[in-house]
Symmetry: D3
Subunit: 330 residues, 6 copies
């Protein structure tokens, strides 16, 4: 089952363990990006996931593509060109000390992509899903345009589209507001991940509950069949709780609440949820199980170093069915 | 006090920390095997522990012996010959993600041992204890035969024998069933580690409680003076509880329940119990203290990387006496 | 704001993670000493902290000074000469296994310092604070004499003085007792960190509560304006609770109780409290906030590898205000 | 340009740097196999290289495939099933100390492949080259049969075939001799890598020089258009010299002699030559340049850790043109 | 003796040993910049070296300053503000494989410095030397302006100035040519490091030999008292030869030729020469010894990991006097 | 064949690779001491080597003993008691940069040994060789006395004795001169390793050549049957040449000259010679082969990290027979 994701991939550099930047002499390398993280997770679940992006045409860009391939993500649609590789520096916290990120992604090769930078017709033909997030249109006009072209092609080809409408205000630096850009993108979605507050802020769609706001969103964007969100309680950097809900316009499907303790790596846990939910929706004819699978996938990601969820379907199913005992598998 | 243990030792290869196989480029080396783990622990307790096994006659076999000697286990009875070194690959879990083991031990040098492969008379003369487990007779006819010769020699020389009758069904590949092999081995034991269910499955010995089943086992095998078992509650891969009980045919001695959180390394914790119990039985004239020492030793092992328990008597005693505060020792 | 601390700095050598000495082939290097730890923490808080000590005149002594400078501590007053670098070997525990320290500091370059070894007039001119601990006078007559000269100079110049009157009986090897030496040093203090029991043991000052004992201490040593202490509950090597109190002769100011779980590094957490308290006293006209800042600083130190607290004011303030959620900072 | 290689891939485990097995506690992981090494090198040169093999269906088999993909080798034709992952343990020497290998590849998943284990029609359609070596037919009857099927399919489809007829006598354990098996495989080759001595030993084809023996081989196997070999002078484990020659039945094309000092990793340097030669033959209409490119590629491989040559075409060309200055590229 | 250097400092990220970018999962951190490298080296020689730059006001900028302080360079004149930290990625070669650098320094905090960004009057008062290079004016108009202000202040205060007029054409991106900018900067120099070819290209100053061109440069810029250059022969990435010459308008002083084999780290070796030469000129009244000291310092730098020369005066003197035996010092 | 060596064992701490102390954050651990190094090497050669020393009775002392056992050296005669573990810090050089050692061995547990600290009768009964060096009598009166008792016991029991009369002037701090102490120790020797200059300085025995001086030594100390010495040419820290000679009072046996390039670890190479020579003398009835074996063993040691020679007899024999090609062993 061919899956397409689109967005920037950054080199992540982090001190070993829970060391601070100021005390380390070595940095662990990972690569990550919210959409690529979804692709990697779906590849572990056995789907034919392919990530679309634009990398610099040098050894680091090639290393980034190698990282995706190592985890079984297809890289044949990736473009190479000028610009730098986006970076982020992550310091992992513990207990009452928060993790911290320093982004260094300005003017990356991805931001220089143009509206016609991807041959979406080729990329999306035969695809079973297309996933994007609100990071991409925030980066540059070209990225926003190219994404819109992708969504419209997906719509034309009948490929379901999911959008994680995450909004980071400090990213929108190229002169447009999310209110100008996001509606046209969201319009093409089958599934939207976002909060009631975001529905209001980005689209002026309001409701007193997530369900009401979700229904309003579906009225505004009739293609949208599902809205979803997660709820996280942070007891400390090492101890969180998480649950998810999925609304199809009629019923709210809620997952169990998962406890994560200790948290090995907090990054990419939302993307792991999205990947699990997509896998659930395309694999089970059962929204309840899909949201449970997504939440369990997210819970497992908290135990895995790096941005990407390397859990298998069997592992997620074990947890989804309520076995969080962590008993040794021989 | 000379102690003899007998069984296979494998090279354990595990990604650093809680990384997964698919994402690591380096593997930590340890060596371990359930019986050798008991020997190492007893050596830390100050006993003259000696492990008997058969290693391949190459640099890895010698490295394995060096590992045992580093931890003060005698290796003078080890034989070297053809065959490979058994391996196992361990991926350490955390939280809701279970640890996983991939065994790669087929056709190891140890499985090629023959009935007369060890000069048991020499090995066991002067020994105060002999320990074996149900892994050894599962590996090959030669290993089962050689073990039986050892147990019979121990019986003849008056050396107490302990058997951990662990049963792993996927190991029994050489054409015999445990029901055929285990009774003769168990017959020679003074102390048996096993569950009520195992007593029934392996020997057809039944009882409605561990005590009843234990008494029935003692009737079947009159040499057996003690039966013992542990009880583990897995809250997650990082958080377990453990207690132990020892039955001498009259009284059930129960240990306190220990909480392990976080768990650094789950492997070898049962062996650490066995070693602590053996140490307790040969050192204290007090079964209650012996089972408590064993359970505390097992609890401590959960904090130590590798298969083997490197805790000292003083450390076990601190915990056994109820001080689990972990206060800094200067 | 110029701060002066005085005392020995040792090279700390510890196996990676929670490995034991007997199983490691590599040792992590840190440098630390109770007074220098205070200086490093104050330097992170933005103060002009300078540490005064005596190092051997070779590459390790220079590396130790480099370590302090890396964390922004001034090293211009450090003296170099004969003698060795003090060392300590630290094995970090977990759960029910305690951390262990092997000290190897005998005859270090610092212990060879003489009464006139430091030009205190130059060092303390313009200083806003001078900090010492009970480790220094325990090491040698020269160290005790030199410290006394420093305290007296500080008193003359009107520089506030804090003393952590920690008493380690095995250190006092040069023929004098703390009862002979400590009173003259304590007399010069504005702020004393110690327990009721210590007040009695060292000065014969008694009281049925910390407050009463503190008031008696203030009567005995009229310069003392504040007494302070922390209270720690050790649930395991990985899980502690901590609170602090500060008494100004009239009011007892108590901090919240902080939970530390997991504990990354227990060493230097008392020094982190002292640094936080000093920062609070010189920065806020508010003893309640000062003690809270100190306790929060100490709590954060438990999450940071090494002896020194690398937390910033902003991080301490986040926790001090009650946010221990550890939420990711982007 | 689609390239197909076929053969076993092993997990290589080696102590860091030049440590010995007996002194290390950690092993570096690489994956390698003579044919897969050729594929990786060709992938770095920009060709669409695909490796065909059979891996165990567990996390280590998937990690092996991930390793190949990381370096841009296609893994879609790989089969998964029972059996273990072949291993080899490498100790890297230096100076007068030789590197040593302990193989542990018996009964690997690859050896269990059957004659019809690969759908060669699909695999080879559209391919521009097929490469095999004498390791494969030595491993098992199934492997030899499957390889023969592949070569015959390639011949039928008009795909050029290269064979590195390396002969390791200790591998041939399944009851057949290379003299029985190799001729039918060699018959399908366009290019044969081997020495005069091997031509004689394996096929009874003799000649007083490499050229004469090569011509005799071409007469015996008329499909063979090229024979090639390398010549290595080992001054020490850190210092070698290498040259290559290629004979097309008329002319002997000789490369320059390359000096390798220091040697970082000796493994896979012959495979790097083969890959360079294949690249040269399919890219340049110039046998002289092809052999030079191959020899330069091999020389560069000596500077790269692991089994596989990660040099690019540009790097090989720099060396091939005579610039061995190693001048910094900014 | 107070020394001032001015220029960008970058975070250097390099795979361990001689690994390639595409195969590493970890990067070693160093910091470096041609002018700061000179400062670190002079600090090891015992001078009061201070580096002036502009860093981003976040944890990485502070880590960079900590790195300089660790090696005893004063950081009190460093400014903090907006912009990113410049980076470069270094892959270290060996033998015939060249080292490669990927620069990622666009729009760094340093490039945003303004003409009045530094209070040069304060910085240079009391200084004995000021050093700059041709990298700085290539980065931005602000950097060029600020540098010119520094040189003019140095001239006014009578501080000797050295300029390494290195020219990297790909850096000059802000609209000015080096021919427009460099002459005014060079005019303020006492010592110029550059080749005959550069004198011609940048200033139109020609001569048939280095001596003639140097004399012409001195005529054009009467402040210039010395010109200097090094000559390197690259036998491979691991084996180089180096010599230096210094011309004072009358005499050419030539160093011995040094052989470097093996080369541990090639980066910063030119800066090590400059630092050695400056140290020699300010310490010895002997140009011959100064150039010899510089060349020996550069040779030693090739054995030290990182950008900066951590050799001491005693070590340089040993080599300068002709002892390259590398005999163990106890 | 039982061999006894006697002397201090130190913990060696060294930065990874060729890093300098000032730049490292981690130290590699080895253990070594000139006499123990001989024991380890002889254990690799298959002899029953046992080291006698005195260690502190704490975890580091036990780790040191574990290190020796790992390499098959018997530790049953080791005594434990008060005092510290001797240390040395090693910085490994390269090329023209020398390695440097900072010793930190004052007042170690070994120096506190007393004349009757070892039960030599038990230790030496059945031994085939006893080895000591001039380091031991330099450390303390007790060490010198205990050593003398050992040598005298060996003489009484007819055990051959070898002495490496190395003289380090800075060690002799306890009030006696080597001229007072060494003669009585040397008198008991069968084999003496030392130079003509040392024979003169320590015993006043002179000769114009090594042979003459050796003959004079044999006249002075009639037990001495062999004198031996090595000759090293240091081309750089990475490139040395070495040869050895052995004189039996009649004939001078000279080894080939070995070239070591690159040198991985220079420490313990003299001890490796001594071990090789001892092995040769006790194994071959051929002084020429013995000196050749010793020199080849020493050459191999230069390729092995740590103080101890881990080469096997087969490896030494390969080199001794002239094969220094370092060809891969499969």
């Amino acid at each position: 089952m061919k899956i397409i994701t689109f967005g920037e991939v950054m080199l992540r550099l982090s001190p070993p363990g829970v060391e601070r930047f100021v005390q380390t002499d070595v940095l662990d390398m990972h690569f990550g990006g919210t959409e690529a993280n979804v692709a990697v997770s779906l590849a572990q679940f056995g789907l034919d996931a392919n990530h679309v992006t634009r990398f610099p045409d040098h050894a680091l860009g090639r290393a980034a593509a190698g990282y995706l391939r190592r985890y079984n993500v297809g890289t044949q649609y990736i473009r190479y060109g000028d610009g730098r590789l986006g970076l982020y520096f992550l310091e992992t916290g513990a207990g009452s000390r928060a993790s911290q990120i320093i982004y260094d992604r300005v003017d990356s090769a991805f931001t220089r992509i143009q509206a016609d930078g991807i041959d979406w017709e080729t990329v999306l033909t035969g695809a079973a899903w297309f996933h994007w997030t609100g990071i991409t249109p925030a980066l540059s006009q070209g990225a926003a345009d190219c994404l819109l072209a992708g969504i419209q092609t997906a719509n034309r080809l009948g490929v379901p589209v999911s959008g994680d409408i995450v909004y980071r205000s400090n990213l929108w630096q190229y002169g447009r507001t999310p209110q100008e850009i996001m509606p046209a993108l969201t319009e093409g979605c089958t599934l939207v991940l976002g909060s009631k507050a975001l529905f209001s802020e980005l689209y002026g769609v309001v409701g007193s509950t997530f369900t009401e706001a979700g229904r309003a969103l579906m009225e505004r964007f009739p293609r949208v069949k599902y809205v979803t969100d997660t709820k996280r309680t942070s007891l400390s950097a090492s101890h969180n709780r998480l649950s998810a809900k999925l609304y199809d316009g009629e019923t709210v499907f809620k997952s169990r609440t998962y406890t994560m303790n200790p948290i090995v790596d907090r990054i990419g846990t939302g993307d792991a949820y999205m990947a699990g939910l997509i896998y659930g929706l395309v694999s089970f004819n059962d929204p309840q199980r899909a949201v449970e699978f997504g939440a369990a996938a997210s819970a497992l990601k908290h135990t895995i170093p790096g941005d990407v969820n390397l859990a298998t379907v069997a592992e997620v199913e074990t947890l989804e069915r309520g076995d969080s005992s962590g008993k040794l598998k021989r």
